[in-house]
């Protein structure tokens, strides 16, 4: 299990190291991807030999996180790992002139780790977490050049559209967990009856959103604003395939009605997006429409009751579409644009790249013995064999024809004409990666029989299907190569090029309301912040007021103190000048009086006698008068 876990851990550790060390981002990412590839291939070998692994990690209380390696998971992990490595090699050349390498490689490595986690997840929580993480990585990587005009809005639209579709995933998971009482995926697939139908429909909704099917196909077109390695890895091989992977995982659950719905949705997508691809004026947008279309094929296969055909097509498509995008990236660097008008004749200037591109394109169409022939063959056979062949088979045949048409159109437009070439930097790694993926696109057909045995599924075979497929493919190729686009009415072409968008499409349903809500919440948050600041300011004002009061009180107390001191001084002055003087005056007066009285003390007897006589007379007078008054 540890080896399998390295498939996740390799890219994850690489992403962490890139973010921490911030140097040698490309080397670290390649290292992580290499570790991941080694681990995935070893695990595939082991699983092919019969090994099955499982692991339980502690998660929330009562809700552990489970990993499981079964044949399907091993095959998918190997696909993701190989395509990641080749695209990263390509990116070394494509992003050579880019300034912010750290952010790019960290995002790519992080995405790889999350995708592997989704593939290896065995319980709904981990799957849900990884589902969201890859959406986040997609948002960050689509909007990589966020400072360029027209780069942010597509990322927001893509993110919000898939998130709106993810309601289905959440509700479906809730239904399944509530019905079966466990978050493990295996047991929950045992649900039957109404729960199965409802859950199946909800999960289908999520898968349609993630895979860019009708009616969610708009976001994939807009996602082409990101760098081409991003388009190659995320929006062709892996992320959009997650929708199909989800349906493949829950295939045992789905009742017949749900399968029909899936098939019809897939078929409709094949048709509509095939027409869109035919009308596109931009190479990458053509390839995006093609991706939706091919994924529609996979859903057709699931709807027809053959998951095996879907798996085969998924693996083949990863290589084919990856190669196509890598070639488109080289052309983009050569001409500085992805518009067909600018790309005229670039094939002739870069013939080897054009050869790889053409190889992958023909594989996509279903030209034997390339990989696409076998997988498309299997899908056609499945639709012929299904109970609903009346609805599904025509869609599949038309889809095959359309595939041929738009691939031929693209090849024609790239070959004919002239334009101004710019020197391409980093052609060597780009070319090497393209060669690798093109080789895989050519040779994977040989692996389908072992794949069948490994997965325990059968790829439908028949004789009618291959023939019908070849005829349709040839008709389409001829149509595409021979009939120029000017033959179609312009309004129809414009509408088709816009992806048959009604009004603003899902923008009005999902994107605009969400952004409006986000804006309103931001306003609320600002007001709350303002209120908090106001409280803070109020507190500061209160503190200032308290301080003023305190200063005033201090001044008052000081004033009281001064007043007291002044009073004390006044009292002292009063005491010293007033009372002391008074007492001194009293003393002086007493002394003076004493001195004066002392003069009486003449020492002369007659004077004393006179005084004595006077005093005695007074006394007598008092006595007599008193006696008279008392007696009288």
């Amino acid at each position: 299990m540890m080896v399998a876990a390295l498939a996740i851990l390799g890219p994850l550790v690489a992403a962490a190291l890139i973010l921490v060390i911030r140097r040698g981002a490309a080397a670290l990412a390649l290292g992580g991807a290499a570790v991941g590839v080694g681990a995935a291939l070893v695990t595939l070998a082991r699983v092919a030999a019969g090994g099955r692994y499982a692991a339980t990690l502690p998660g929330l209380p009562g809700l552990p996180l489970r990993l499981a390696v079964d044949p399907l998971a091993a095959v998918l992990a190997a696909t993701v790992a190989v395509v990641s490595l080749l695209v990263l090699v390509y990116a070394v050349g494509y992003m050579a002139r880019e300034a912010d390498q750290v952010r790019f490689y960290a995002g790519m490595a992080g995405f790889s780790a999350a995708m592997q986690g989704l593939v290896l997840a065995d319980d709904w929580l981990l799957l849900l977490a990884c589902w969201e993480l890859i959406a986040l990585a997609s948002y960050l990587l689509i909007g990589f050049w966020f400072d360029r005009p027209g780069a942010r809005e597509p990322a927001t639209r893509a993110f919000l559209t898939t998130r709106a579709a993810d309601y289905g995933l959440y509700l479906g998971i809730f239904a399944l967990v509530a019905a079966t009482g466990t978050t493990a995926i295996g047991p929950s697939l045992g649900a039957r009856g109404g729960v199965a139908t409802v859950a199946g429909l909800l999960l289908t909704l999520a898968a349609l959103g993630k895979a860019g099917q009708v009616p969610f196909h708009g976001w994939l077109q807009d996602a082409m604003a990101g760098p081409t390695p991003v388009s190659a890895l995320l929006h062709s091989a892996t992320l959009v395939a997650a929708g199909a992977i989800l349906l493949l995982r829950v295939a045992p659950l789905l009742p017949g009605t749900v399968l029909l719905v899936i098939g019809l949705a897939g078929g409709l997508t094949v048709l509509l997006t095939g027409l869109t691809a035919l009308a596109q004026g931009d190479l990458k947008r053509l390839l995006a429409a093609s991706t939706s279309s091919q994924l529609g094929f996979m859903l057709l296969a699931v709807g027809a009751g053959s998951p095996g055909a879907a798996i085969a097509h998924l693996v083949a498509h990863a290589a084919m579409k990856g190669a196509l995008f890598l070639g488109a990236g080289v052309f983009q660097h050569a001409r500085g644009s992805t518009v067909f008008a600018a790309l005229a004749g670039v094939g002739r200037a870069h013939r080897r790249v054009y050869a790889g591109f053409a190889l992958a394109g023909l594989a996509l169409v279903g030209v034997p013995p390339l990989a696409g022939f076998w997988s498309k063959d299997a899908i056609l056979a499945a639709t012929f064999a299904s109970p609903h062949r009346a609805a599904l088979a025509p869609l599949a045949i038309l889809g095959t024809a359309l595939t041929g048409a738009y691939v031929a159109r693209a090849l024609r437009l790239l070959w004919h004409g002239t334009g101004r070439d710019e020197p391409v930097v980093g052609l060597a790694p780009m070319g090497a990666a393209l060669a690798g993926l093109a080789a895989l696109a050519a040779t994977l057909g040989a692996a389908f029989r072992p794949l069948q045995d490994l997965l325990g599924v059968t790829l439908p075979e028949g004789t009618v299907a291959p023939v019908v497929g070849l005829v349709a493919a040839a008709a389409g190729l001829a149509l595409g190569w021979g009939v120029p686009a000017g033959r179609f009415p312009a309004p129809a072409r414009a509408w088709a090029a816009a992806g048959f968008r009604l009004g603003d499409g899902l923008g009005g349903l999902a994107v605009t309301p969400t952004l409006a809500l986000a804006l309103a919440l931001d306003g609320l948050d600002r007001r709350l912040d303002g209120a908090v600041r106001g409280v803070g300011r109020g507190a500061l004002a209160a503190a200032a007021a308290a301080r003023a009061v305190d200063t005033g009180a201090y001044a008052a107390i000081g004033g009281v103190g001064w007043a007291s001191l002044a009073l004390a001084r006044a009292t002292r002055r009063t005491d010293e000048r007033g009372i002391d003087r008074l007492i001194a005056a009293l003393v002086r007066a007493t002394r003076d009086l004493g001195a004066r009285v002392r003069r009486l003390q003449t020492g002369l007897v007659h004077r004393q006698l006179a005084l004595a006589a006077g005093g005695a007379l007074l006394l007598l007078a008092f006595l007599v008068v008193g006696g008279l008054l008392a007696g009288g």
Partner: protein, 171 residues
């Protein structure tokens, strides 16, 4: 009654006259003698008032005292005979005023009280001298013994003090 009044008046006037003479003469001896006669007149007055014992006592005591005084006067006076013309008085106005005030005040009091409310019942007769002596002796020895004794001690003290003062320092 009238006889007594006349006797009292005569003796009294004699005493007053001689008292005045004491201070109007320059001669010391004559002053002493005048005082003697004044005191004698007073003794006679007491006799006239039927206080025989007291009158005799007065006469005896005053006679002796005046004699002693005369001796001292001659001893200490600069001009005992009054032959010099030196002025021997001072603060005359004050003295006259005080004397007049005192005398007239007492007189006014006496007359006023007599005229006003009377002194109360006047006893007509006095006890006989023998009875007086007897009763005075009883009084002295019984009720006023304390006073007597105090007076005795006081006399002793005065004698000692006078002697001590008069002796002066021993050389």
């Amino acid at each position: 009654m009238a006889v007594r009044l006349v006797a009292v008046a005569l003796c009294g006037l004699a005493a007053v006259w001689f008292g005045i003479r004491v201070f109007r003469t320059r001669s010391m001896v004559r002053s002493a003698l005048a005082l003697l006669f004044a005191m004698a007149a007073l003794g006679g007055l007491f006799l006239a008032l039927e206080a025989e014992f007291l009158g005799v006592l007065q006469l005896m005591m005053m006679a002796t005292e005046m004699a002693v005084m005369a001796i001292f006067m001659v001893m200490y006076m600069m001009d005992p005979g009054g032959l010099g013309q030196m002025e021997m008085t001072h603060q005359k106005r004050l003295a006259r005023g005080a004397g007049a005030l005192g005398g007239l005040g007492a007189a006014a009091l006496a007359v006023g009280l007599a005229l006003g409310g009377g002194w109360g019942p006047i006893s007509a007769a006095a006890p006989s001298p023998a009875a007086q002596n007897h009763d005075l002796g009883i009084e002295l020895m019984e009720r006023s013994m304390m006073i007597f004794e105090t007076a005795g001690v006081t006399i002793l003290v005065a004698m000692v003090a006078a002697t001590a003062v008069a002796l002066g320092r021993r050389r």
